[in-house]
Amino acid sequence: MSYAYLFKYIIIGDTGVGKSCLLLQFTDKRFQPVHDLTIGVEFGARMITIDNKPIKLQIWDTAGQESFRSITRSYYRGAAGALLVYDITRRETFNHLASWLEDARQHANANMTIMLIGNKSDLAHRRAVSTEEGEQFAKEHGLIFMEASAKTAQNVEEAFIKTAATIYKKIQDGVFDVSNESYGIKVGYGGIPGSSGGRDGASAQAGGCCS
């Protein structure tokens, strides 16, 4: 149970884009083609390693439906990272990104790391949003971008780990006051906070995992 850092993530995005499936793929390494509609929020956790440091990820998977917005907003402030997910086969989910982003900027802390994920990359033949458009949107809004598939697991691991690596780097750079838990970051017993502060960011590499 010991970890150097604990990061809180949220997964947001329109209903049906595959948020719960991404989480399930990441925590359980399995895909469930038919997933019940998420009510409120669900929780998942996994340990990863970055820069040889064990990092615990606590992930809250939120309901995409509008009616749950007031509940899910409660999770924004305390999160260190957010996965903003759209469905590459459904244009409207891409069009709604701006409003999601606005919500996040309004309720979350300013330093929250946001990863934009174009999910369902296995369904390339039904693609409605090009990779370039996704990249463009991410660039404009300062997000990290990746296309992924919860079904084939392609880029799922990478998406979660890259987000963590970004947060880790921000810690190293001294962006966060890690003693304030409201940023969604917690220093664990197994880590030495800020000892290697501000060193070469390249060392923040995605490592293996253990759950």
């Binding site: 409120g40 956790a45 606590q58 509940i71 907003r73 409660s74 999770y75 305390g78 309720h107 917690k186």
Partner: protein
């Protein structure tokens, strides 16, 4: 609240009494007016103070304030943030307006001003939002009063507040931050959050997202764990709210913090022998947390079972058994409620979890060299505890241990080795070195000496778990023979017979002691019966062993119809009887299923037999509404009075009007109840079966009614006759049974024809009777047919007889003719002799003539005789043929011919005499 008492006098001056409603209204109105329109800050502050004290004092003022005051005070809270004193005053006034004033007088249905005011205040979501914003104020009292107001609102309009707080951005976060505030605020916030999280899953999750677990555990640690005060109790109550039916939060706790923190609360620190009331409550709350984890998420959650299973695995990995066994089994000082709760957790940890079962069965307690398996210690609790509740919980551990665990059952059963009598009768204190089985057998037979069957019936309950659904164990325990208590009197007997003996003994004891002890002992018989019912199930050998002793059946029949036995006892006895039918594979007459069924219908009557089932099923123990008692969460108020943690004994007896001991509702778990229900159907079916297909002594094969080839008439008749005879006796049997049934039917139809279930069983009788009647009819038709056949044969026989008579007379006349001829011949010879003697003097010619004549006569008679002989021969052969035929037909030919022979014999005799 010293301020309040200070103003008391003044208020008392203003109001002569509380009832002057209009006075209060105008007074409150004036104060409110001063607050909103006053110019001098001091005057407004004074008005606020006055308002607060009047609202705290009188219900009338509370009402008046509710009608007019909220907008004014809300305005103050919104607009005058800088005036801390004003804000404080306004908040304190609100607290007073929401706090019920205890008035012993006053009718019950009167409007509760405090309730009404909370309703008014909580209606506006904006108000809640305003209050939450006040939590960020610097001033301690502002935050303190605000928390009190919110708690008051939550107590009375929980749902509305929960919804409102959910919609306010960062609302819960603000409340959570209060947990990090100074102690007074923190404790107040704990209470508030406890109310807020009650049955609100989303709020529970947000709280956890905000790090509630970490905060709760750090406060518990700070406060000294289970040794801590009421704050620890509040923390645990909040923790339990967060985990109850919430799989998501359970997973989070397990995956993030782990269960160590909660398990370590169970660890006894410091003085392990002192259990204050607060410590007891803290431990019970922590055990409740374990229990919530064992129950998993809500019923509707699809992942409930996996989550539950993982929780169990992780808890045991974290060595929860050690602490539970310490609290539940080893500690001599732990209060009974704590021991019971710990045992309950142990039971829930092992049920259906092979790995945990193994872990528990390999646990040993005590210190070298006095170690013994934990299971033995738990058995000792069962046998020795003076608390019914503790017995129930420890018994539940064994029930859970044996459930779907045939290896475990076999392991326990393998130690059941009878000891010599002297050993088993050793004082129970010397049992540390005993094996599980010896201890159990010891317990089973302990009542022998002092006539106390309490221990015996508890041991019987454990044994029934060991035997349940496990045929190997049943067979094994069947073979156990016990020495007779007085070795001089008779040989050893099977354990089962001993149990039946105790069953009988239990009812005797009851009769002797009269009514007072009936209630006390009313569970001994049902529990022993439960053991026997479990034992016989699916085990023909057990049924055979039970029936091996003739009096057993008789006793059971008596017990079923014994009016002084409880409904449950009679019902279970009936079930046991039924098992003697359905699991009876014995062919031995007098012990087979037919005998038992006949005994039931003769001694009890089928209708009243089945009635015993119905009665039992209707009783409280078997009613579907019986659910395992839900444990109410230990709230502060409930815990304070400690009523909650009293023993089960007294509780139940009064509230249900049921004659059965409360212990039974735990011992008769749903599994057993369902099992008995399924048995009942089975028993009904089998008894119908026994009746509809009676064990026939005569096989009716139509082909055999015909004459067999090569069979003589006589043989044929003989065969048919014996067949008819057998059928006759069987018909007699059936008639007897039919009569019993008809009698039963008549009784049913007469007395209780309106009851449907009896009608069905009456109908069953009728069907039965109908079948029998049809059988009877068929049989009598067959008899008629046979009679006719017999008559035909008889008439044939008499015809032949007549024929034979005629032949006889013919023969007689012929022989007469022959006789007369002979006589004539004789005369002639005489004549010839005379002539010869005379002819000596006469010439020799006479001699010649005579010779000539004789020759002639001889020749003549010879011809005639030949004819006669031929005739006779023919006749003779005819008679022979006929008599053979008669013989075939079964007529006594010699007798028939007797007369004839005499007639014939006489002339012959006379002929001889004449010779």
């Amino acid at each position: 609240m010293d301020l309040v008492s200070g103003y008391k006098g003044m208020v008392g001056l203003v109001f002569g009494n509380d009832n002057s409603g209009s006075n209060e209204d105008s007074y409150v109105e004036r104060l409110l007016d001063r607050i909103s329109n006053g110019v001098l800050p001091d005057d407004r502050r004074n008005a606020m103070t006055e308002l607060q004290s009047v609202v705290a004092e009188s219900r009338g003022a509370q009402l008046a304030f509710g009608a007019m005051g909220f907008p004014v005070l809300m305005g103050v809270l919104k607009e005058e943030r800088d005036d801390v004193e004003m804000i404080r005053g306004a908040l304190e006034t609100l607290v007073s307006a929401l706090t019920p004033i205890d008035h012993a007088k006053g009718p019950q249905n009167e409007v509760q001003p405090a309730l009404m005011n909370t309703d008014l205040l909580s209606r506006e979501a904006e108000n809640i939002s305003l209050l939450l914003s006040l939590l960020s104020e610097e001033d301690f009292y502002v935050r303190y009063y605000t928390l009190q107001i919110l708690t008051a609102l939550l107590t009375n309009s929980q749902n509305r507040l929960q919804e409102a707080i959910l919609t306010i951005p960062r609302g819960i976060t603000r409340l959570m931050d209060m947990l990090m505030d100074r102690e007074v605020i923190r404790n107040e916030a704990l209470l508030l959050l406890t109310h807020l999280t009650r049955e609100a899953e989303e709020i529970q999750k947000i709280l956890v997202f905000e790090g509630a677990f970490e905060k709760i555990f750090s406060i518990i640690k700070e406060e000294g764990g289970s040794e801590g005060g009421v704050v620890v109790q509040d923390c645990l109550e909040l923790l339990n709210n967060l985990l109850r039916n919430n799989a998501c939060n359970q997973v989070l706790l397990r995956e993030t913090l782990g269960f160590d923190a909660i398990i370590s609360i169970l660890k006894l620190r410091g003085s392990s022998y002192s259990f204050t009331q607060q410590k007891t409550i803290n431990l019970l709350s922590a055990l409740e947390t374990i229990n919530l984890l064992l129950m998993g998420g809500s019923e509707s959650d699809p992942g409930k079972d996996t989550n539950k299973l993982t929780n169990r695995t992780v808890l045991v990995q974290n060595k929860v058994f050690d602490y539970l066994l310490l609290l539940g089994v080893e500690s001599q000082w732990a209060p009974i409620p704590v021991r019971c709760a710990a045992l309950r957790c142990i039971a829930d940890l092992i049920v259906g979890h092979p790995k945990n079962l193994d872990t528990l069965s390999s646990k040993v307690l005590g210190e070298e060299p006095q170690v013994e398996p934990a299971l033995n210690s738990i058995l000792r609790i069962i046998l020795r505890t003076s608390s019914a509740q503790e017995f129930i919980e420890a018994d539940h551990v064994f029930k859970s241990f044996c459930e779907r665990n045939s290896d475990g059952q076999t392991m326990l059963a393998s130690t059941l080795i009878p000891q010599p009598y002297s050993m088993t009768n050793a004082p129970i204190e010397e049992d540390v070195r005993m094996s599980f089985g010896s201890m159990l057998l010891h317990g089973l037979t302990l009542g022998e000496s002092d006539g106390d069957l309490e221990t015996c019936c508890r041991a019987a309950s454990v044994l029934s778990h060991v035997l349940r659904d496990n045929i190997q164990c049943k067979e094994r325990v069947l073979r156990i023979e016990l020495e007779s208590p007085t070795p001089s009197l008779g040989a050893s007997e099977p354990l089962m017979h001993r149990m039946v003996k105790y069953l009988a003994l239990a009812s005797n004891m009851k009769n002797k002691d009269g009514k007072t002890s009936t209630k006390e002992n009313s569970y001994v018989q049902p529990i022993i019966l439960k053991l026997l019912v479990t034992w016989l199930a699916d085990c023909p050998n057990a049924a055979q062993c039970f029936l091996a002793s003739r009096p057993h059946l008789t006793y059971l029949l008596e017990l079923v119809s014994n009016p002084s036995a409880t409904t449950c006892t009679r019902g279970l006895a009936a079930v046991l009887l039924g098992e003697c039918v359905i699991y009876n594979k014995s062919g031995e007459s007098g012990k087979d299923a037919f005998t038992v069924v006949d005994a039931i219908s003769q001694k009890i009557g089928l209708t009243s037999y089945f009635l015993k089932f119905d009665e039992m099923m209707k009783s409280f123990l078997f009613s579907p509404v019986k659910t395992t008692k839900l444990h109410k969460p230990l709230t502060r108020s409930a815990a304070a009075s400690m009523e909650e943690i009293e023993d089960v004994d007294e509780q139940d007896s009064s509230d249900h009007k049921n004659e059965d001991h409360p212990i039974l509702s735990s011992v008769f778990d749903s599994h057993f109840v369902n099992f008995v229900k399924s048995l009942e159907g089975n028993i009904r079916e089998t008894i119908v079966d026994v009746y509809s297909r009676p064990k026939s002594e005569v096989a009716v094969v139509p082909a055999e009614l015909e004459l067999k080839r090569g069979e003589s008439d006589k043989e044929y008749i003989e065969r048919l006759k014996s067949f008819v005879q057998k059928q006759c006796s069987e018909i007699q049997n059936l008639l007897g049974r039919n009569a019993t049934l008809a009698e039963n039917l008549a009784k049913t139809g007469g007395s209780v024809s309106s009851q449907p279930e009896q009608r069905t069983s009456g109908g069953f009788d009728r069907v039965q009777a109908e079948t029998l009647r049809r059988d009877l009819q068929e049989a009598s038709q067959r008899i008629e047919m046979l009679k006719a056949e017999k008559a035909k044969i008889e008439s044939e026989a008499s015809m032949y007889q007549n024929l034979a008579g005629k032949m006889e007379s013919d023969l007689k006349s012929l022989s007469d003719a022959y006789n007369s001829l002979e006589q004539a011949n004789f005369h002639l010879e005489k004549e010839v002799k005379a002539l010869k003697s005379g002819g000596a003097s006469t010439p020799p010619d006479v001699e010649a003539i005579k010779a000539e004549a004789r020759e002639e006569a001889q020749k003549e008679s010879e011809v005639e005789l030949n004819d006669l002989l031929v005739c006779l021969g023919q006749e003779q052969s005819r008679v022979e043929k006929l008599s053979a035929r008669l013989l075939e037909l079964g007529e006594d030919v010699d007798k028939l011919l007797e007369g004839v022979g005499d007639d014939m014999g006489l002339p012959e005799d006379s002929e001889k005499e004449e010779d």
